[in-house]
Amino acid sequence: MDKDTPRNHHDLGGVSKFMCEAVDTTPHALTDFDKQVDAIRAILGAKGIMTVDELRRGIESIPEADYHRLSYYRRWVRSMTGILLQKGVVTEAELRAALEAG
């Protein structure tokens, strides 16, 4: 039985839906993708461009189904991109151009 609260979907402590879910305890090596995302986040933090709090807020705003479907670092990329767009650090036009070129 869940506590009957208006919790956000990232606030997972004790949530019934996951109480019977097995934990995959096998080792998972980080991919190049993972490490690059992690590194960019650290650089943005070190340069005062984006805080870890903003990253978290962005992750928490990912709709519930996507939140659970996306891998950990894919959530980060989605959040980081959204935050950087919101703050005007990058523009959608710039990203679209890069996507087309890439």
Binding site: T5, P6, R7, N8, G13, G14, D53, R57, K87
Partner: protein, 92 residues
């Protein structure tokens, strides 16, 4: 300032329901009563940092809760210990 050993109650408040918010007080502790273990220092309020707003430093406490009291299940004696900001705590 809460001294170690002080009984405190976590506010049963839900800012998430009033608009975009970034809250670091877990849902399962809201309205629960615990005991202050120690003052961990003062840190800038993540609720504001998350929106790039000016963020004042707030006192942070380690607060201990009894497991069975929080969940209505669990082994007596087992505990939860969680970092909670001062503005989320009232004397119990």
């Amino acid at each position: 300032m809460f001294a170690p050993g002080t009984a405190v109650r976590v506010k049963n408040d839900w800012p998430e329901t009033r608009g975009p918010a970034h809250i670091r007080t877990p849902h399962y502790l809201r309205g629960m009563t615990g005991t202050v273990v120690r003052h961990l220092g003062s840190f800038r309020n993540p609720e504001d940092l998350a929106f790039a707003r000016p963020a004042a430093e707030r006192a942070l406490y380690h607060v201990r809760f009894a497991q069975p009291a929080v969940w209505g299940e669990g082994r007596p004696g087992d505990e939860l210990q969680v970092e909670i900001f001062e503005h989320w705590l009232d004397p119990a």
